[in-house]
């Protein structure tokens, strides 16, 4: 507590990545020639030099204890000189120069409960966020839903038998910390009631002009409460985005019976074939059903299975839906089309069907 003042180190940035590269990666950096898929979760990258690097990818709950990370370190040391990486979707990848180590590594991983897969036309890990584990803002949990959905889609992770890649993401509130807005299937936590204003707390913790301007729809108006400046919410103008709560703790929206989950489909990020696109609303609301979230699980599995059955080879979810048309999507999945599906925000006018192209 009253120790010698040490010279603080700051602004050093992350360690240089080169320190962590497998020697074969370092040698062939920028000189990879092609790759092959050896099995679900197993890739082989071939360099101009002829070198072959093998990657074994395992699924991860992302929320990892140091014990598990150390277990990964053990495996990396056992099979690949200690070299490993994580992916942009939170899987772990072991980098091997010896093909013979692939099977033993897979066995060890499976024994430890970590499935190998997620490559090519498998469903990879669900990008997700904090939920009830850590965030104040969440309308639903994150890790729990991911666990249940991936339990149900386990075979889709370990097999590459979909028409194309299928990316699922989850965000526990409209801030959308996972790239939920451009996923084949998005699971999104939503509120359905306006903020409950804590009028006593408000003047102490919030700046009123900032609060008012935070509302995308202008639903927050200045008001007075017990003679002091406060705000009120025009309920019909509120669409429960919780941005007011983000800037002001005195505006919580949590409501166990009215919070829940919406499902969005057909987004993508890659430029392969079609341009990147947003996910669109499929199911406006499913109640929160901990601990096993059956409603969400069924909804996602249903969409995956209908897609798997009907899409053409190489067709991402959104491209498939665009080919068959949205009415057919709702018909095939049995999802009801409601007033909520019709956009009414800024660009709503661009989403009306402005042609007579109709399938009957």
């Amino acid at each position: 507590m009253a120790a010698e003042p040490v010279k603080r180190i700051t602004d050093i940035g992350p360690p240089h990545y080169e320190k962590f590269l497998h020697p074969m990666v370092k040698k062939n950096y920028g000189m990879w020639k092609y790759h092959e898929s050896l099995a679900p979760g197993v890739l082989c990258h071939v360099a101009e030099s002829g070198d072959k690097l093998f990657t074994v990818r395992a699924g991860s709950p992302r929320l990892l204890s140091t014990a598990t990370i150390r277990m990964f370190a053990d495996l990396a040391e056992k099979y690949c000189g200690g070299y490993l990486r994580f992916t942009s979707r939170n899987n772990v990848e072991f980098l091997l120069d010896n093909q013979a180590n692939i099977e033993p590594l897979k066995k060890d991983l499976q024994a430890a409960g970590f499935p190998v897969g997620g490559t090519n036309n498998a469903i990879s890990n669900i990008v997700h966020t904090q939920g009830w584990v850590h965030c104040h803002s969440s309308a639903t949990d994150a890790s729990g839903i991911v666990k249940c959905v991936m339990d149900a889609l386990y075979d889709r992770f370990t097999h590459e038998n979909l028409p194309a890649k299928l990316r699922i993401a989850l965000a526990c509130c409209l801030n959308m910390c996972g790239a939920v807005h451009c996923s084949d299937i998005s699971i999104l936590g939503v509120h359905r009631r306006p903020p409950q204003i804590n009028k006593d707390l408000l003047p102490k913790v919030c700046e009123i002009p900032t609060l008012i301007s935070s509302c995308p729809t202008g639903a927050i108006r200045s008001a007075t409460y017990e003679g002091k400046p406060s705000v009120e919410v025009v309920e019909e103008q509120c669409m429960y985005c919780a941005n007011c709560y983000t800037v002001c703790p005195a505006m919580p929206l949590n409501d166990p019976e009215n919070d829940g989950i919406s499902i969005w489909v057909g987004g993508k990020v890659s430029n392969a074939r079609s341009a990147p696109k947003f996910s669109k609303l499929a199911i406006p609301f499913i109640p929160n059903e901990p601990p096993r979230w059956p409603g969400v699980v069924d909804a996602v599995v249903n969409i995956v299975e209908v897609y798997a059955k009907h899409a053409h080879k190489y067709e991402r979810m959104g491209d498939w839906i665009e080919r068959i048309g949205w009415p057919r999507f709702f018909e095939l999945t049995g999802i009801p089309f409601t007033r909520y599906h019709i956009d009414d925000f800024r660009f709503a006018g661009t989403t009306f069907a402005r042609s007579t192209h109709i399938r009957f």
């Binding site: 360690p15 962590f20 990666v25 204890s65 990964f72 104040h136 949990d141 666990k147």
Partner: protein
């Protein structure tokens, strides 16, 4: 010890099933760290009551930094005192998320000493997320991290931790060195990363080719996506081999080309490269036969973000092509002009993409000194509400 362990019948349900369980992870951490017991207790309460029990974050952090720590407090501190404080630390990941087992062990050791022993590998922005500690552990933890060569990532109104796809380290399609660019940008902007000075957050993501494996076009204020300018490199023998092995070149490759610029006569694949929009499909499908051209670089795009406030945005084209060798300098110059403009005109909590929509792309281009080119738009305007300038 056994007595202290919270009962979690609901959460226990989440240990079932084949997918690895985060509940198991928390329980594993509980073995060394009692914070996790209260975390389980509070989480079980959330699972019972169907609502979160965290309070809105307060401002906590390490000395001299304005970001990198997310303050978090329980709203039931009496019941779960060990998570009364439960802040996260965002630790800047090495580019491409490459590690040695040694580095990982170092991180684990530090975190076991100073925090919950729980992590996210990784957060959505890319950071190593150290999940849960007390205020007075922040500074000691930071000291140990920096000593070992690690530093904090971003949070708040700063440049956020840049991230990159695996790129040239393992991918044959990387049109520029994504990890190096990511590292260089992170180092260049250390001050902007740690000390909030912007209207809001600003994210960079570096993808080596249009497959965009870091989702940069969806999630970064500036997206740098590799591409090439010349013709696709083509190995006819390898094409023939794919055909021999049973690939239907016409159907699988040509028919899926968005510009239909490929033709296959049963023997020879012809690409009208002039028409190719570099979507990657044909290359993805035949990695042994087709490769990006040799004149490589990147497209720079601007403005992606999540919905709040003006609706979600994808990045849009700002510079169609910058040669790989010029990328870092071009981006640095461009960024300084963009940040100047944003700092001057951006409203509080207004992302750059929203500002551009508000002031108009043409005005934005004027301000940063770029000429308009048709590649910036999917189509010219269809409304006649043109602000003609007086001088013309």
């Amino acid at each position: 010890m056994a007595d202290e362990t919270k009962k979690t019948p609901k959460l226990d349900e989440l240990e079932k099933g084949p997918w690895p369980s985060f509940v198991k992870e928390i329980k594993q951490a509980r073995k060394v760290n009692t914070m996790c017991d209260d975390l389980l207790g509070q989480l079980e309460t959330s699972y019972e009551e169907k609502k979160g029990h965290w309070k809105h974050g307060g401002i906590v952090g390490v000395m001299g930094y304005g970001g990198g720590v997310i303050g978090r407090y329980s709203d039931m501190p009496e019941k779960f005192p060990k998570v009364a404080h439960f802040h996260t630390m965002r630790v800047n990941q090495p580019a491409g998320w490459f590690y040695t087992s040694k580095a990982l062990r170092t991180l684990c050791d530090i975190w076991d000493r100073h925090g919950s022993g729980l992590t996210n590998m990784h957060g959505s922005t890319g950071d190593i997320v150290f999940l849960g500690t007390k205020t007075d552990e922040l500074e000691p933890c930071f000291a140990e991290l920096t000593k070992e060569g690690f530093d904090l990532g971003g949070s708040g109104s700063v440049m956020r931790t840049p991230s990159a796809c695996v790129g040239q380290a393992r991918c044959e399609w990387a049109c520029y060195d994504t990890m190096k660019l990511c590292y260089d940008l992170t180092q260049t902007y250390q001050d902007e990363l740690h000390r909030p000075a912007f209207p809001y957050k600003f994210k960079f993501k570096c993808a080596g080719c249009p497959n965009d494996c870091v989702a940069s076009i969806a999630r970064s204020d500036m997206s740098i996506i590799g591409t090439w300018k010349d013709s696709i490199q083509q190995d006819d023998a390898a094409v023939a081999e794919y055909a021999k092995k049973g690939m239907d070149i016409q159907k699988d490759v040509c028919d899926n080309c968005p510009t239909k610029c490929m033709s296959w006569d049963g023997k020879k694949l012809t690409i009208e490269n002039h028409e190719c929009v570099r979507c990657m499909h044909c290359i993805n499908v035949m990695p042994k036969a087709l490769r990006p051209g040799k004149e490589r670089g990147a497209t720079i795009l601007i403005g992606a973000k999540a919905p709040i406030i003006q609706g979600a945005m994808l990045s849009s084209v700002l510079i169609p092509f910058v040669p790989a060798a010029e990328l870092l300098d071009t981006i640095k110059e461009l960024t300084s002009r963009i940040w100047d403009f944003w700092s001057e005109y951006g409203k509080n909590r207004e992302r750059i993409g929203e500002l551009i929509q508000r002031v108009g792309m043409a005005n934005f281009l004027d301000a940063i000194g770029l000429d308009p080119v048709p590649e910036m738009v999917s189509a010219p305007r269809d409304n006649p509400y043109i602000y003609f300038k007086k001088e013309e």
